[in-house]
Assembly symmetry: C2
């Protein structure tokens, strides 16, 4: 089913996953389109962002954000059009970044909206990617925490993903030697030939550790951690003294149901942090850096205008396909930033 | 045997320990006293510092400092008197901090010496403790990496040790709520009654995690890590968002012979770093902060002059007792900063 004007499709959390989510954890409901009150706008979703962190919100384990409640709509960043407005700052037809979640329509009081204008409207979905949360994550994690210097070696996993691809390209702009890690030969080729990484290694190959050592002949100065798991095991022995590990995601463990068996890798990790004087720092972009969004947006917009960046989206049509697409993303099936095209509108079109 | 004027006793590394060091890993040799060449001074050791990091140098595993070679004298910071001088900047009778190691006499070209003068000469051994490397470690790790704010909760293990006791007292000066962890009721009582910690918990008790939770009712903002092991397991769940973990030692694992059994605690640790946006940073005081020693020395000297600090030394007489004392220190048998009184000289005495 495609987007209707009189029905709001909502993808709600039907049950909490144990391990990998399945389609049974989601349910699609149909409701009336809500009506904005004074001070509110009615938003119609055009683009929906799917991101790994949403797996955390499906669980009720203690976390940095409250979990999605059972029967509540799944949360998400979206690009939307203002359909009706009872808010002085917004007019019908305005394009905004919103937090509408996995649904066709949502109300907002305007406080969580970011109005889109200018060049970004050529590719509104980029406001969920390289000009939005994932680009912002890459930018701040790499530059503020990673602090790469020209000539240093930067390693990033999920190299063709929404965050990793931007991390690597910024690191190249800064004059670093950039090694990506990705799943499969096609992604690796893309990272080298299109994104311009110096090398990209396939984590499906058994000799990852060996090859990483070969291509990081001077060791690793910055490891941008957005994966965890066995990639980390290959990286740690190669970290240089005073290395930095910004950590924004651990997708490899999101579906874990409990601690894995031994040996215990904590003590060796602590030993490496101490001996190598590493800095390991977790961050949540919205909580740690919200005050620096404009700085990022201005700089990244300029780089984008100068054609310095390639940004690949994995576009899937139709809100109904969001659950299946999300499940596949956690398995690494996507190739680029995952966005759901909920409606086909483009800026400037009249409905 | 006590110190002689014509013989140099040297404690050398006889063999590398497997697990906990034993006395068989050390050997005491007797040599002629060396003669300084042009540009050198002859130093006579008065105080010898014993510190846990020396365990690392007894092994040949990759580390941040080269291992002590077999048959070489054990390295260490010392307080020494200049006996003979062929160096323009030093005269016989000068007191210096040197890196003479576990021996009575050593030569130096002056580059690794720090001349002692003024109030510190009232307690020259303090130049190895609260006014030396261990105090400097506490000061920089806590203030530069931990960045405690008034009202925050700071937890430090080995609370009565050379580093921990200073960490806690600086944190109290900064207006923090300070919880120590130490081995045994006597040390805990001392930390509370003499050092002025708000509470000190005994890690020999089974209910450490429970009690820590009770006394850190607002969570933990800074955990000064100098121990590792099970104390860390009790601390991690209590860390607050944006918490800081300066890491300068892991004495609990120094004698480990291999990775411990599972479950694997690495992934939960990474998860905590991410969710809580922790900053975990290892440091080696001499490598990371040498350029700030004067700042530390000036500030700490002032605090000491104002009687703001208590510093307990665990003084053992005689170089011959260094091996046994060192082995005991790794087991937590010491109570305060361990120093060996190699000779009984005091400043101002004539030999």
């Amino acid at each position: 089913m495609s987007q209707q004007t009189d029905t709001n499709r909502r993808v709600v959390l039907a049950s909490r996953p144990h391990g990998a989510p399945t389609e049974a954890n989601f349910r699609i409901e149909h409701q009336h389109v809500p009506v904005p009150a004074e001070g509110q706008v009615l938003l119609r979703t055009v683009w929906l962002s799917l991101d790994p962190y949403m797996r955390g919100r499906m669980s009720d384990a203690p976390s940095y954000v409250p979990p999605v409640a059972i029967d509540d709509v799944m949360g998400a960043g979206t690009v939307a059009i203002v359909e009706q407005s009872q808010h002085a700052d917004y007019a019908p037809g305005d394009w905004v970044v919103s937090q509408s979640g996995w649904q066709d329509f949502a109300l907002s009081n305007g406080k969580d909206l970011f109005k889109l204008s200018g060049p970004v409207l050529k590719h509104p979905s980029w406001a969920l990617g390289m000009l939005g949360m994932t680009g912002f994550t890459a930018y701040m994690g790499l530059l503020d925490i990673g602090q790469p210097q020209a000539g240093e070696t930067v390693v990033v996993a999920a190299a063709t993903g929404a965050v990793g691809s931007i991390v690597g390209q910024i690191a190249k702009l800064k004059g670093c030697h950039v090694i990506g890690i990705a799943g499969g030969a096609e992604k690796c080729r893309y990272a080298e030939e299109v994104l311009g990484f110096d090398k990209c290694l396939d984590h499906h190959q058994d000799d990852l550790a060996e090859k990483l050592k070969r291509y990081c002949a001077d060791g690793i100065d910055v490891y941008f951690e957005n994966v965890g798991g066995k990639v980390f095991d290959a990286v740690l022995p190669l970290m240089n003294s005073k290395g930095r590990i910004p950590m924004c995601g651990l997708i490899a463990s999101y579906n874990a149901t409990g601690p894995s068996a031994g040996p215990d890798r904590l003590t060796p990790f602590q030993g490496a942090i101490l001996r190598k004087r590493l800095r390991v720092q977790g961050f949540i972009i919205t909580q740690d850096y919200a005050h620096r969004f404009e700085e990022f947006f201005r700089q990244m917009s300029q780089w984008v205008a100068e054609d310095r960046f390639v940004f690949r989206e994995d576009v899937v049509d139709g809100l109904d396909n969001a659950p299946e697409t999300f499940i596949g993303m956690l398995e690494g099936k996507n190739f680029g930033k995952v966005v759901i095209r909920v409606a086909a509108d483009q800026p400037g079109e009249q409905k």
